[in-house]
């Protein structure tokens, strides 16, 4: 148990599609579980990273203050940090709001939107503040590896993790590199 590789995962401004794709490794997860233990992750519901995580998989870009804190916790706790999927790499779909001023986005969603009742912009102190623009994670912390794709296929996760766990420099062959 103690010798197992610690993997933490999270989804920032993502859709959990990358996590779903990761789970598409199907029964290979049993093989993975022999050498890997999951730390902070939506899979375990553990809230904070142990200080000695080996691999951190980050899905999604950075769209609010909580994302920044989470990302920094992962960077601090994980020896190897991996940007997983289009949103973590270039902001992806959420970054398409970058071309519209934030105030306009909020007004459209919460004030002027069709069918909105009791129009008000949410301002509970519990809610993380939105950033002016959605950013890819490499603009906030150092990232060691990138797995492109929307989402990266299960085989991308498998190839990357098995390479890394076997002590090989991870590499993705042509068939596994897709941005869509």
């Amino acid at each position: 148990m103690t010798n197992k590789i610690r993997v933490a995962t999270t989804s920032l401004a993502g859709c959990f599609g990358c996590h779903m794709s990761f789970l598409d490794i199907d029964e290979r997860i049993l093989e993975l579980a022999e050498v890997v233990v999951f730390d902070r992750s939506p899979i375990t519901d553990i809230e904070h990273c142990s200080t000695d995580c080996d691999i951190g998989l980050i899905e999604g870009g950075v769209c609010n203050s909580e994302n920044v804190h989470t990302l920094r916790e992962f960077r601090k706790s994980c020896k190897i940090l991996v940007a997983v999927g289009a949103c973590a790499i270039n902001g992806g779909l959420p970054a398409m709001r970058n071309f519209i001023p934030l105030e306009e986005c909020l007004n459209e969603a919460y004030i002027n939107g069709i069918g909105v009742e009791n129009a008000q912009i949410p301002n509970d102190p519990e809610l993380p503040l939105l950033l002016d623009k959605v950013r890819p994670i490499h603009e906030v912390v150092k990232v060691d590896y990138f797995l492109p794709g929307c989402p990266p296929s299960a085989d991308v996760f498998w190839k990357f993790l098995t390479d890394l766990i076997a002590g090989r420099e991870p590499s993705l062959p042509y068939e596994l590199v897709h941005y869509d």
Binding site: A86, G92, A95, H138, Y179, D180
Partner: protein, 239 residues
Amino acid sequence: MAKTIMIDGLSIPFEEGQTIMQAATDAGVYIPHLCHHPEFSPHGSCKLCTVKVNGRNCSACTFPAMEGQEVINNAKDLNADRQKITQMLFVEGNHFCPSCEKTGNCQLQAVAYHLNMLDDHFPLFYQHREMDASHADLLIDHNRCIFCTLCVRASHEHDGKEVFAISGRGINKHLIVNSESGLLKDTNISAMDKAAHICPTGAILIKHTAYQVPIGERIYDHQQIDQVSLNSEQVDHDK
């Protein structure tokens, strides 16, 4: 005896007046490129085809082949530079492949795949750029324009029209169309024009054709651009 140049240690014949790119293509040697197209005069702007000629960096698409040249093309450092250039193209525009209908058929994406580009490396610009969907059969998404000028050259040299031009300099550079309103619908372009089909990215698209071929079955989903490019461009050159 035919004159020859050496590319990566291979002896490549050439005809007087050919560029290094033309000689290489004829001989089945792929040099990565985006702004080059064998049917149009070379532009030399994307710099992806940068090769070392007798130790100095040159654009293969514009540099004339000359007897005895030693050309280095497929080298680790050159491909690393090409990857950086491609990353700069990605961060300068707004290239969101998952939401682009050109994905899988896009040469910018295919070159990036070929160079095993896994990230953008640089901070993204997120420049706000407009879309012109005014024309009934065509649209321009300026977010994806890389200023290769292929549409400019195709319209001028092939279609006998002057539909496109590049305006502005540096970061303010942008594609313009030839109409008083500045809209594509008021130009004389037609969906049959070469200029409408030449865009290497998803900047100029033919309407009503998206997703006829599903993602996963598109040109570069299973073939690398080096082979696709040689197959099509060797044929073009023989015309």
